[in-house]
Subunit: 286 residues, 2 copies
């Protein structure tokens, strides 16, 4: 989506400005493609509530900057040790490990700064912006994404139950996907009932997205995926197919997709974009 | 200071809660001693303005969590590769590299979350809290601490001028020290003139603190420092003594200390704690 790319481009410091190597690594990590699922969820959620405003761009950028930083750190040799991401060499392969660590750190700070800056979050009441910052902080931290990554590390070589596997993914990728929808809902002025329905939608979509990832990791090719295929099995990480078998994995994916669509049924026609994103998450080929 | 330690203790997730390894690494990184200069600057600045409130604890914790995360990441093998910090093994030596990266990431998120959470920043208007979040974000990011660390990496084996060396340190350590004072000043309701004087104080103190570090790196012993002595020279990093010689370094330290004290002279007796901290930064033995 042109709007997301333009907003991300504007939010990042220019390549030529000092410290140039850091800025280049940050821009490389963020601007090199990517599905932009989280920004799209921000816009689609607000759209379902009849809301659109320039202030949404800051929310969309903030979640994507956090997502991008998490990929840079996850790909590091000490973590998943991945050389390929979004069809290109990973950030540390291009810029070195030290610069990749710093680029991730700086992207996280920039995400919070973007949200906090009044001039971008145009027209949002300060109290609401603070609530959004709290939502983003919780989603990123030890109770969310970083915590999920820690559970993921601890799971290598372990036998997990389906519930444990889903909890790990609900933290590792689900928390930020949930935050994207939550931020869109807060911007759109959703009441508590609608926010709760949207939280169910986000939870189901997040897990469905991950299950599709696991299926593609078995079936896909690196050239189509843009990242290394078969790496979870190679790393002895529990996956949906390894925990419950491929047939049950496909059934769980269908169940979660139906749950996501059910959750937003009360929005009727307004939820069309959210519906498309849930179908995309479940059926995508990369 | 008991107040800082208690506030930090309260701000961190408990060791026994899942994901326990991540929480343990976070607590290890933050609670193992440390000078607590930045929290002390928050309290001392607010005190100089006649302000004290429970809300200060969140500001003090936020800057110390950011400082702690930066030490964890700086010590990583890909960065400064340090095994000793605050007299103990560094976080990655204790918990492994992957967990140390995640602990740093989660500490950064927690710092912003602490500031954003209304229940902690008691009595602070949302608009003012947003301004504080912006101050903290800028101090941490590519234009502040992370940018300074990138300049530091680029400086290895290079000849810097005194101005370049001071600029690097003004970003790497000065930005967060400046943020600590700025946050205390905002909490204390300082007008623009006073805030400017305090910014000069913080800038001079930050550089003086770093110069003292460089002198101790030459003169000190690891057992007293609690970290590896002589490491900057060994890593071929430019230092004040290597750039301008030891005699000029000592003279610059005295000049900056005088400048820091001058800047807060208008505060009179109210500035007593700030004065003590400037003298401590310049004269400390570790």
């Amino acid at each position: 989506m042109v709007r997301t790319e333009r907003a991300l481009e504007r939010s990042l410091p220019p390549n030529e400005k000092s410290p140039a190597a850091l800025h280049q690594a940050m821009r490389y990590a963020v601007l090199g493609g990517g599905k932009r699922l989280r920004p799209l969820l921000v816009y689609a959620t607000a759209d379902a509530l009849g809301h659109d405003a320039p202030g949404l761009d800051a929310l969309a950028c903030a979640v994507e900057l956090i997502h991008s930083y998490s990929l840079v750190h996850d790909d590091l040799p000490a973590m998943d040790n991945d050389a390929l991401r979004r069809g290109r060499p990973t950030c540390h392969v291009m810029f070195g490990e030290a610069m990749a660590i710093l680029a991730g750190d700086a992207l996280q700070a920039l995400a919070f700064e973007l949200l906090a800056r009044g001039d971008i979050a145009t027209g949002t009441a300060p109290g609401l912006t603070l609530r959004m910052l709290d939502v983003l902080g919780r989603a990123c931290g030890a109770g969310g994404m970083a915590g999920g990554q820690a559970l993921d590390l601890a799971a290598v070589g372990q036998k997990l139950t389906l519930a444990e596997l889903e909890h790990m993914h609900a933290c590792k990728t689900g928390a930020l996907i949930g935050a994207a929808v939550h931020l869109g809902a807060l911007a759109g002025g959703a009441d508590e009932g609608v926010r709760e329905a949207l939280a169910h939608y986000a939870h189901a979509l997040g897990l469905a997205f991950q299950i599709r990832d696991d299926i593609l990791d078995v079936d896909g090719e690196s050239t189509v995926l843009g990242k290394t295929a078969g790496k979870d099995a190679a790393a002895d990480k529990p996956t949906f197919p390894s925990v419950i078998g491929m047939q049950a994995t496909v059934a769980r994916l269908e169940e979660l997709t139906a749950a996501a669509l059910d959750a937003i049924a009360p929005l009727g026609e307004h939820g069309v974009l959210l519906r498309e994103l849930a179908l995309y998450a479940a059926n995508r080929s990369h």
